[in-house]
Point group: C2
Chain length 376, copies 2
């Protein structure tokens, strides 16, 4: 039985909720916690009992880096992401987790690329981290993952899986953990698959824009984009593989002082634009990276032309999403976003000889959430 | 006769006003203008007539850099700054400017360090730039400057003189110029005496916190610190000369990628903290510069100990103001600010063998202003 009665309905089509447990405090502007401590972080004196036999969660895709926000800024994207279904399973050894299946949402096919060994799967690692935090020893769990995001697209695919899984375990056991705990669990997963970076997993869990101020201790700053403003992301994903490691190797070891000052000022302008709801300023700052994008864009065929096409078509700004290959442009209207997307797809084909697909998405202001649950 | 009837009275003890002319628009969040165009920027079709025979203006001191805000962020400090008195003077050749006298506010003595040749004086250069913008050909002006700020203290002394002078000329002729024009005039002055940097002159003119997003075109972002929050600066000025050129030469030509990312994230956190009114976050970010402060602090005897003493005494953060030698700490209470200042002064003496003076000032939210005027 779905617990739709207790649920809030955001813009996504599925019934959804924010974290439902009153012990889980509302998101604060600044969230601080230790992250150099070894897991588990004991937050309960006794092992919690499950409050659901099964839960279904969703975690959104994310755009990290955002140009001059390289490695410390990310935001969540509405209506695109991964689902996790998690159930109490008497057939699984108590305290253990089994991955039942991994499917691709697009065609409901079995995903054969990802491991079903929980220790080698983003969702599995995050789920196990939360189980460890909660000290789950008496119940075995079975997890199914539905990938709504392509791998290696630069839209935080691994982070969305980790976020959905972390929230699923937490919700199944009554939602005792804080947002910081959940980000730490996600970070545990991210560090094993793509590096110790929270700029995807933090916004996937928290929604909106999130700035990672520090890792030791972990300090996250929620940057609230005004509710009364529209912000659309034009996401154009070419048929091209841009492995994170290769894209990271393209980075310079050192940057000139003048480029440093420039990018710092753009990072400041980016943050100000988000908080002030200044979309044009956001676009300008997003487009102004002189350090990372100039090194990475040439590795993605057509990217420079795609950016040019987006701006010429009226986008306020355009850059590489995460480490690519997806290009992200921003605009204030869904319809104009579609037109911009068409021009970007054309540019990928014309200049990069790459097929690409475009979609227009708004900002996800909610983050990872409980979709439904069957109470015990 | 002072025009106190038309004046607003902010926190300063003198009767003051914001820019009084309706043609001078209120400060906008983002101010854009070209700055690569050669002066004069024609904003009027005919030469304006003076509306006052004499005006008196004030422009506040400023704290630039603010740690990770190096070279693009600054803020104005209340109750400390320079005054300019500007009069229509029939004895001065029409279209020309004469500097009548320069005095030190502290003891009303004549200042002998600064040139009274308008072409070699911060106030003179800015006043002439505004006269050129307004195309003043028919009236001669006489300017007196009262320095309330010590030179080379790192508190934007030259910028305050330039700002007070630029605003004086503009107000005398009816306030036709925009804030951007005034910043450009101030920048003309700054570029001749301390480099092409607007991070002192823009906040001195505009008040509050100002982010310089770009110079070409000039784009300034006003970062509004919430009105309902108290912010105090503890400014500790040691008896030591830290020439801007020497402090600039101490900067590294290149920075490591990891330091770049760190400082960028702190710059973002600094901007977020200002806009969100998060004083602790502001202090933490202010204190977290890993690029500039570590190179400059060792050049100011005792600075590292002063910072440590400030933090130990409860300051939320501490860094070098501008290029020094003044140390700036921030706190939310004037009384605690005085205690922190005492500890900082002690540390300068103990570790740097330097005499120092401390003062506690709040944020100036107004910027350069008309204090009084004698109408024609």
């Amino acid at each position: 039985m779905a617990i739709s009665a207790a649920l809030k309905l955001p813009s996504s089509s599925s019934p959804t909720s924010t974290f439902s447990n009153p012990k889980n405090p509302p998101l604060k502007t600044i969230i601080r916690c230790r992250c150099n401590s070894s897991l588990p972080l004991k937050t309960l004196t006794t092992e919690p009992h499950p409050t659901f036999t099964s839960v279904r969660t969703f975690a959104p895709a994310t755009v990290a880096n955002l140009g001059p926000g390289f490695d410390f800024l990310g935001c969540a994207v509405d209506g695109l992401g991964d689902h996790v279904t998690l159930a109490v399973d008497p057939q699984v050894h108590p305290g253990h987790l089994s991955i039942h299946q991994i499917t691709n949402s697009a065609n409901n096919s079995v995903n054969k690329k990802l491991s079903t060994n929980p220790n080698f799967n983003c969702a599995g690692i995050a789920a196990l981290a939360v189980m460890k935090m909660l000290d789950i020893r008496s119940v075995g769990l079975s997890l199914s993952l539905e990938k709504g995001l392509p791998l290696g697209s630069g839209l935080g695919s691994s982070a969305a899986s980790a976020a959905a899984a972390a929230v699923a375990v937490n919700e199944l056991f009554g939602g005792h953990l804080t947002v910081s705990d959940l980000v730490l669990a996600g970070l545990e997963s991210e560090s094993r698959v793509s590096g110790y970076h929270a700029d995807n997993v933090a916004p996937s869990i928290m929604g909106g824009f999130v700035l990672i101020r520090s890792y030791d201790p972990l300090e996250l700053i929620e940057l609230k984009f005004p509710d009364d403003k529209d912000l659309f992301f034009v996401l154009v994903n070419p048929d091209f593989e841009a492995p994170t490691k290769k894209m990271r190797a393209a980075l310079p070891a050192e940057v000139s002082m003048s480029h440093h000052v420039w990018n710092c000022s753009q990072a400041g302008a980016l943050v100000a634009s988000v908080l002030q709801g200044d979309l044009r300023g956001l676009g300008t700052a997003l487009s102004s990276d002189r350090i990372v994008e100039p090194k990475r864009a040439p590795l993605i065929p057509g990217m420079e032309a795609v950016k040019k096409a987006a701006i010429e078509a009226g986008a306020f700004g355009c850059t590489i999403s995460g480490s690519g290959p997806t290009a992200v442009a921003i605009i204030d209207s869904e319809e104009r976003g579609r037109e911009i997307g068409d021009r970007m797809v054309e540019a990928f084909m014309r200049e990069g000889k790459l097929k690409a697909t475009a979609m227009v998405r708004s900002l996800d202001r909610v983050g990872a959430r409980l979709v439904s649950g069957i109470p015990l």
